[in-house]
Amino acid sequence: DAGVTQSPTHLIKTRGQQVTLRCSPKSGHDTVSWYQQALGQEPQFIFQYYEEEERQRGNFPDRFSGHQFPNYSSELNVNALLLGDSALYLCASSLNSRARNSNQPQHFGDGTRLSIL
């Protein structure tokens, strides 16, 4: 049973460029969340997707956008990259908690390490 998979594992970009990161959820999961983890810091919530819609968003600018596809996979897009966007980007999947009236744990991939030069 494949867990959460993310691609690519590493990426190097320059300031001002745009990047797309990809995530395939764990089999059977329908909800995808994205987190940013700066070096030496805890993960910070970016947004969550369910039924192809953004359902909740953290304190991130509009340069950060996403998409969820009918097969539940997801993309994270970041425009106009800044040096401060260098981080490990983590994707997490889960079953939808609202539909099941219980808090479902999120399962994480190994992340994409994004470096901005």
């Binding site: 993960p43 919530f45 992340g111």
Partner: protein, 115 residues
């Protein structure tokens, strides 16, 4: 708003001795609480979760945690540390059953295990 405070940034133990990683939470709702572990250059692995079914929660790799509402604590313990336990540990809170919940992480505790 929900938050967690991890009381120690670093904890050092010897192999074979007990582990205690401390976490206090703040939540307006009855929370769900989790412990995750992160090994270097890896993602986060769920160790255990509390969702009100039982106050003493057993997780993987011999870890367990006890939810104490009166103390607003959710400390992680293990009777005997192993070298492979060396990693970063995050205490995490999430509002319970409110739908599209996000995870709020503590700042992490680095566990160091010496031979």
């Amino acid at each position: 708003a929900q938050s967690v405070t991890q009381l120690d940034s670093h904890v050092s133990v010897s192999e074979g001795t007990p582990v205690l990683l401390r976490c206090n939470y703040s939540s307006s709702y009855s929370p769900s609480l989790f412990w995750y572990v992160q090994h270097p250059n890896k993602g986060l692995q769920l160790l255990l979760k509390y969702t009100s079914a039982a106050t003493l929660v057993k997780g993987i790799n011999g870890f367990e945690a006890e939810f104490k509402k009166s103390e607003t604590s959710f400390h992680l313990t293990k009777p005997s540390a192993h070298m492979s336990d060396a990693a970063e540990y995050f205490c995490v809170v999430s509002p319970r059953a409110t739908g599209f919940q996000k995870l709020v992480f503590g700042t992490g505790t680095r566990l160091l295990v010496s031979p």
